[in-house]
Structures are given as C-alpha cells and as structure tokens.
Amino acid sequence: MYWAQLVVAGLFAGAVYALYGQGITLVYKATRVPNFAHGAIGTVGAFVFFKLWDGSAKRLLIPWIHFKIPFTGVSWNPNPPALPFAAALAVALVISVLLGLLVERAAMRYLVDAPTISLIVATIGIFIVITGLAIDMFNQQTETVPPLFNDHVYSVGGIRFFTTDVIVAILALVLAIGLGTFFRFTNLGIAIRATADSRETSRLLGISADRVAAFAWAAGSFLATLAAILIIARSNRQLDFVSLTILIVPGFTAAMFGGFTSLVGTFIGGLTLGVAQNLFIGVHWPTRFLSTAFGAAGAPQFVSFLVVVIVLMTRPKFIFKGVRVDEESGVGLGKARSGLAPEDQLRRVLDRRNTLLLLLEDWKIGRWLLAALCVIPLLAIPVFTVSYWSTVLGSAVFYALIVLSIVVLTGWTGQISLAALGFAGAGAFGTALLSTQFHIPFFLVMPMSGLIGIPLALLIGVPALRLRGFFLALATLAFMVACETWLFPQSFFSTHNDVARGVLRDDLSQPSFYMSLAFAALVYIGVRNLGRTRVARAWHAIRDSENTAISMGIDPVRYKLLAFAVSGFIAGVAGGSFGYLNLKIVAANFTFFFTLTYITAAVISGIAMLAAGPLAAFNFVLLPTITARSISGTNEAIFIIGGLLAVLTVIQYPNGLAYFYSRVLRRFEAGERVAWASTTDAEGIAPAAAGAGTEEEEEELFNRAAHGDLSLPAGVPGA
C-alpha cells in the first residue's frame, strides 16, 4: 500500500512535469531552440491570471501592478480589474501568446542556424529579461493563492488524491494525444515537422518557416501559462518566480524522454520521472549515513540528474529513433558575413584618421599607462584594513575566475557546460573544511580548493564524453541543479561552512582580497601560457571539428577530460577566494540561476577570449556597483540590461566584446588597406575577407605551390 501510494503520487507529480515538458517539446520540435525562457513566460501568465481573477485578486498582499521606468522615480501602480475565472484565464493566455510571438519576432527569428550556444544564451537572456521585468511589475514577495477548484479528496483503495491532480493528469494526457494527432495528420502539423527536418527544403516547398516558428512559440507559451497556473494550484499554491523556473530541469527531462520530438514520449517521460523520484524518496535507507544523504530535501533533483545521465548515456533506441543528436560542439564564433565585418569597419575609420597606426605601433607606452590605470585602483587600498571595497573587488575576482573557467571549457573546448558554480561550490566548501577543520594555511588551501574542483568536474566530464551541444548542456544543467538543491544543502556542509582566514586575519578583509587577486593573476597567467601551447590547439580543434582533430592524432577523450579538469580547477580556486572573502559559505551562492548569468556574461564578453574574464568582472560587478552609488535602483536593472545585452550579442556579434577589441587592434594584414580602398560601404562585398579573391589569383597560388621547394634547413625539427 505504501508503495502504491507513492507510485500514484508520483504519477500525479509526473503529469505536471509532462505538462511543462510538452511546451518545451513543441518549441524544440519546430525550431530546434531549447527554450530556457519557458518557465518565465508561464510564470508571467500565471501572475496575470491570479492578479485578475476575482477569486484570488482580493486575497493578494500586493494586488496592484507596478509599472516603472528604470533609473527614474516615475512609476504607475494601477489596480487591475477583477474578472471572472474564464475571462481572467483568457486574458492571461492571450498575453502569454503575445509574449511568445514577441520573443520569436524580436529575437529568435534572427538566430536561425545559429550555433547551439547562441540559442541557449539567447533564451537565457530572454528568461532573465522577462524575470527581471516581471518581478518589478508584479511583486517582490511570495503570494499565496486560493485553490482553483473546490478540491475534493478522492480515496480509491486507500490511495488519496485531489481534483486538481486529476485535471492536470487528464489535461497532460489529452494534450499528448491531441498534439500528437495534430502533428501526424494536419497540414500545419506536417509543415512544422518538415520545417524542423529541413528548413531549406520546406522553404522551397512554399512553407514559411517564420510562420511555423511563430506558431510554435505562440502555442508553446500558451501551454507554459496553462501549465504554470495548474502547477501552482496543484502544489503549495505559492506564487513566486523561483519555484517555477527550477522546474526547467524536470520539464527538460520529460521532453528528453520524447527525444524532444514526441509529445506522447514527453508525457510518459514526465510520469516516469515523477514515479522514480517518489520511489527514491520513499526508500527506507538502511544506514544513517545513507538516509541523511539521500533523504535530503533535494533528493528529487538528484534523481532527475541520474535519470538524465542514464538516458543520455544509453540513448535507448525507442527514444532516440529519428532524433538528430548534435554532430557539432555547438560552439562557434560568428561566421564571416557579407560586407566588411564590424571590426574591419572600425579599423578602416581609425585608419583614415591615422589613429590605427598610432594605436598599433606608436602607442606602446600608452598601453602600459592604461594598464597601470586599471591596476592601480585595485592596489590603492591599504592592506591592513577592513573595507567595503574588498568585498566588491573580491566578488569581481570570483566573477573573473568563473568566466575564465567557462572560457576554457566552453569557449575553447566547445563543451557547453552550465555547471561552473557547481565546481566553485565544491572549492568553497572544501576551503571551509580545510581552513577550519584542518587549520591548513591560506597559501596551501587556495591550490587545494582548485584540486577539489577537479573530481567534481570529472564526475560530469565522463558522461560528457558522449554528449554534445544541447544534450551536454542539459546534463550539466541537471548536475548543477542537483548540486544546488541536494549536495550543497546537506547538513554536513551547512554545519561546516565557516572559513578561518588564519594568517590573513579574521578581523581584516583587505589582505584576503590581495591574496585572492594574486592567486587569480597566477591562474590567469597560467591559462594564458597554456593558450599558446598544443594543449589549447587540441581543445580548439575538438571544438571546431572533432573528426579532423582525431585525424591529426588528437585524443578527444583525454583532451576533453583535461578541459573539464582545468575548468574545474579554475572554478575551485574561485570558490576558495569566495570563501576567504565571505567567511561563510551558503548554498544559495551557488545556484543554477547565477550560473546562467555567468554564461551570458561570458558570451557577451567574448567566450573564446581569456580577456573575457576581467572584462566581465568589470562590466558586471564593478560598473554596476560604481553606478549604483549615484543612481538608485540599478540592481534589478542590471539583470535586465545583462539579459538584453546577451540577446543582442548573440544576434549581432556572437564573438563578443573581447574578440572585437582584439580584432580591431590586430596587426595589419597584407593587402588589407588596398581592399578597404576598393570597397565602399554601400558595395557590401569584402575582398579582404574572401581569401584568394579571383580565380586568377587562386590559380597563381596553386602554380606557385606546385613549383615551390621544400628543403628544410638544418636545425628545424623534422629536417
């Protein structure tokens, strides 16, 4: 009876995941976009509904809607009208559909054929923008809403369940079958499938891929709102922005069971996951250690992680039949577009004003001065002090290191990982243990915290060997959420979370900052050195084309694991510096949400460039802090701006800022100025970027090559 109860409860919980996953599947199926904004869109719809519905509106703590123009005091707080149930639902659904259409039209349409990382970062950016705006508009606190229906308790053979449970389950089933039929038999359904298969071919057949995508986003958003309202009504009836976004993992997991294409598969996947979680929680563990470890609150997320890894690793045929598994790493710099690249346009402008030569050749001292100008403020605060700035600058160091760790793993090696803060958390908790329990001095703890990050990174690195692109992102996301909700909140960690600064003095903060900065600088130099060796070249090769890398003798297994290890080490050191600056490690500092913001920051700053680390720290930690002092209310705005920037970056310049600077300030290439001279802005062709331009030139190239001479002088390796 005990187990039967668990299974039934699991099925009902799983129906929620199914409902949530179906919208994700719909969007992915039609557009190949893994929609991280799904939950955010649904939550907006749910908020609209509960603010309008006359059954709930009067019971809310904050019934009004708060419109505000950022950076100003201008605001407007209207009370929304109270509407009957059906009208409120209709308005909520219409608004979410419009929101979905807006997302498609304003952002995703420009990202057709974009690499996976761009799609992920774009939807994360949208997620951040929507969440930031909505928190501002709706409320800042959790609301409790009344039940949707007069909930009956049913009891069949001693197993209890509620009306809402039944409605959710039936709706999920109906959607699975209904949408499945729609895709199989209707013209629009077939058009969507065709577009997903080959955008180009279906375009030739007269199907408008844009309209298919718009439909998918509208329908997906519709489902998101429906699911969000029901999920809130079914669970603890708490209306807030956090609980629904964390459902992204079970939602993606359910969709994964359907191979992100089958709605029936998604339905079954949701149920399977729900039952697996419930059975796992229901186990009476034989030893006290096991029951504290696996009985913890985050156990369901741990089960999600296991399920994701097992399914993706074994790739059962019945799920993955006909699913296109990513062949590419999904990480690429922006392709050369027609016309002069933006960096070349700027170079040409600078060159015409004779500034470029100055910057490149004559400005060596100037560059050192600029560097000194950046470094001196960092070192200006007296060492033996407690300073507000050590916390700010310390978090900048942490930020830079995390972005660096992302650059190595994702930007350099092409492994899309959303788990950087998991590695950092391991390093941070390790720092607490080593410094407090074992009294190990700072100078040893820092490298050791890096070493602690390595095994955790390898733990996800091993399954990653068989995964690429979005599937890898999914596995690492599940891993990150398991770290956040299951591993780090374990009672052992929350009782051993103090860091002892030792010689760096618990009563002073600035010495810890300086030492962290020094360690970060060492790590940066080390990685920069590494970037010039064959190791980094092997990583780049794996990122750009694994098969070509293999045919050049690069062992992908070894070098991928190496990338995970190095990335884990850097993040671990980041965690160590976090520990020394904050003294208390809390699981809430290492969340998947923050990881997502780091990924967006890395992409905006230039995910393949080391300079992205310091640049991101400056743009996303120091700049907001400095401006926040003069302009009030910048904090939520910075999230929104960050999200918008992320979307804009992946659409306009996926290579990021650091890459842009480095390309503007590169040395002159042969024939570059000649090419500029012959290109006008309006002409829009770029001979400079086209390699050997004309046929004659190329023929000449071949002839020269054929009559060259390869006599290697003595002393050259291989001679």
């Binding site: 293999i550 045919s551 390699g691 050997a692 046929e695 190329e698 190239l701 090559a705 054929a706």
Partner: protein
C-alpha cells in the same frame, strides 16, 4: 602478416540493410599513388572512414606497416603515420591558417597531455622551445605552399582553393607516411585542378609519402596515379594501371553506362 606497406584485406561494412562495402581488398606499396574511383555511392569515402576509424567494419583487416588499424583507436592511427583530408575540407573554422598547421604538428610534439598542460601553464623553457620550433615548422610549410599572405586569416574566411592548400600544408606539417586525400579537386576551379597534379607529385617527392586518393577528375587521377582501384556498389570492379582500368569494360559500364571514348568525354 602481410608483405605490403598498406593492405586492405576483406573489409565489409553494413548500414542497416545496406551492404556498403563488400569484401574489399587491395594493396598499396610504399611510395605509390593509388587512385580510388567509382560512381557516387560506391563506398569510396566510407572506405576512407573505415581506414581512419570513424566506422568500425563488420569484418576484415587493414594492415599498415604490420599493424592492424582496425584494432587501433582512431586518433592512434595518426600517430602510426596516417594522414587524411576530408571531402568538404573540414578545417577549424575559428582558427587561423597558421594555428591550423600548428595543430597538425600535434603528434610531432613530445610529452603526454597532462605533462604538456603543466609545462605549458608554467611556461617552462622546454615548452617554450617546443612551441617555437612548431611555429617555425608551420611557417615553413605555409611558405612552401605560398600561403604566407593568408597565415593570419581564419579558415572560415578562406576560399575553397586556399582551404585545400591549407589542408595540404597541414599534411606536410604532419608528415604522414600514408595520406588519404578525399577529392582534393572538389570545389576548386578547373585551371587549379590542372596545377594540382604536379603539386601532388612534387609533394610525394618531397615527403616520400604514399598517397591513396579519391578523385572524380579523370585527367588528374589518371595522370598522377601509379595504379587505379575502381569501386562500385561497395565492391572492387577492377584494379591495375590507369590504362588497364580505363580499358576495362565493367568500369566503363558502371561509370558511363556504355562504351564511349573516354578521352573525348573528359576533354
């Protein structure tokens, strides 16, 4: 144990119900250029994929310098001296020509991955020297193929012909003993194709390497190959000198659908 430098012995491969390669066997002697021809879908590229390890054959052996390649992991085959280019010139989109050629030197640099990482991060003299040597070597190969002007261009910015030359420069840098070239003329203009023949012959001279190449350009492949292997529907149709294969009725049948004067067709 085979006597030849390189021997494909009874390689078979099935994709589902389709027999892609059926008991394919032939040998290549050291220093030879052997051309692989056949209509589309004959299994030429698939055979290359089997040799480089991207498909595991259902049966058969591939002997290369007395080692059975089938037993070796794909990346190990490069270390044994096997080089390969791809039909669609798959090079590293986000790397410069110079870095691509340096990447091809991977196996020429000593030290394991872990040791290289530690040395590299610390910037030890040995690592710095090794990098400088690779740089010099890559520059030389680039100069050899006349690519100096392009060495700092990204591969994604190159035209197809330049990309092909970059591939050859990478092969030079890798210094393999056996090179598999998959349609080196595809995507480049006719006049360049004519220059390609002498170039390949010269590279053989300089590298002392053995070439196995797939090619659809008949004058090119017939002009430079010592021997030709003709493949159709996964089986060997004929092999021999270019003249013998050109005269083979079956080859003419499968390629051209009847006897036509070959010289007239390709001219």
């Amino acid at each position: 144990m085979p006597d030849s430098f390189f021997e494909i012995a009874g390689i078979s491969l099935r994709f589902g119900g389709l027999q892609v390669l059926n008991d394919v066997s032939f040998t290549v002697e050291q220093g030879e250029i052997v051309g692989l021809i056949g209509p589309n879908g004959a299994g030429k590229t698939t055979l290359f994929d089997v040799v480089s390890g991207f498909h595991k054959p259902a049966g058969g052996h591939i002997w290369f310098k007395d080692v059975d390649l089938v037993e070796e992991r794909p990346y190990r085959r490069a270390w044994l001296g096997l080089g390969r280019t791809f039909q669609t010139a798959r090079l590293f989109q986000n790397e410069t020509v110079l870095d691509t050629v340096k990447t091809a030197c991977h196996r020429r640099m000593g030290g394991g991955a872990l040791v290289s990482t530690l040395r590299g991060a610390l910037g030890t003299p040995s690592s710095v020297t090794a990098e400088r040597e690779v740089e010099e070597r890559a520059q030389m190969m680039i100069a050899r193929l006349g690519l100096d002007d392009y060495s700092n261009k990204l591969c994604s910015e190159l035209s197809y012909g330049t990309l092909r030359l970059t591939e050859l420069a990478s092969m030079l840098a890798m210094e393999p003993e056996l090179v598999l070239l998959d349609e080196p003329s595809s995507g480049i203009a006719q006049r360049e194709t004519e220059a390609l023949g002498p170039l390949l012959l010269e590279l053989r001279e300089e590298l002392g390497a053995t070439f196995l190449l797939i090619e659809h350009d008949m004058p090119l492949i017939m002009g430079i190959s010592d021997r030709i292997v003709a493949l159709a529907s996964g089986e060997i149709l004929a092999q021999g000198t270019p003249a013998e294969v050109q005269a083979n009725d079956q080859v003419i049948e499968s390629y051209l659908g009847g006897r036509v004067d070959l010289d007239e067709v390709v001219a």
